[in-house]
């Protein structure tokens, strides 16, 4: 399950809308502590500037990944948009997925009014969709396995 703050969802969707009909892409960085919490929004340039393909600009990716290293962060979420098709990982997405610990978030912008947002794990060519829980903050959100039930998240 992906638990994600509403403001991060809004930023990803705004980026996807801004770059539509080209695909938008980026990451959400989070602490490298196994919590799986996305904390920091980083929009990346789609070096392909294409409606059907994306690729992080290699120099921007190096800078961002070095910054994450310095901050003890990992790419908790890797997101991109599908601008004319269902937000489900394509064969290209699956064959190029190289972050088995990341949540792959796809944002569909084919409907101008209503975006779609779905999340997947992609490991060794296998795709598993997962539930997305959008929260105002992480304080009351379920953040992983523990022995004490968490209080119900706020709607």
């Amino acid at each position: 399950m992906l638990v994600i703050r509403a403001d991060l969802v809004e930023q990803m969707v705004a980026h996807a809308r801004r770059d539509h009909p080209d695909e938008a892409c980026g990451i959400l960085a989070g602490p490298d502590d196994g919590s799986g919490r996305p904390e920091r929004f980083v929009a990346m340039e789609n070096a392909e500037r294409s409606p059907t393909f994306y690729r992080f600009d290699s120099m921007e990716q190096l800078r961002v990944y070095q910054e994450m290293d310095r901050n003890d962060e990992v790419p908790v979420v890797v997101y991109h948009s599908h601008t004319a098709t269902e937000p489900y990982p394509s064969r290209t997405d699956i064959s190029l997925a190289s972050e088995p610990f990341a949540h792959y978030v796809l944002i569909g912008t084919r409907d101008p009014e209503q975006h779609e947002l779905r999340s997947y794990r992609i490991v060794d060519g296998d795709v598993a969709e997962e539930e997305v829980q959008v929260v105002e903050n992480y304080m009351f959100a379920h953040t992983g396995s523990d022995d004490v039930p968490d209080p119900a998240p706020r709607a």
Binding site: M44, E48, F53, S58, Q61, L62, V78, H80
Partner: protein, 46 residues
């Protein structure tokens, strides 16, 4: 990769420069230089 060329979806950097712009895998690594390898992050609807 089997032909010894740089895989399209792997980024190799020498001293923070993408080797694609510095002679590919023939790029020279100076003494004390750093080599960074990152998987390219790419995909798309098609």
């Amino acid at each position: 990769m089997t032909d010894g060329s740089l895989h399209r979806f792997v980024n190799v950097y020498v001293n923070d420069e993408d080797v694609r712009f510095a002679g590919g895998l023939d790029a020279q690594v100076p003494d004390g230089g750093t080599v960074t390898i990152l998987p390219a992050v790419a995909g798309g609807a098609r």
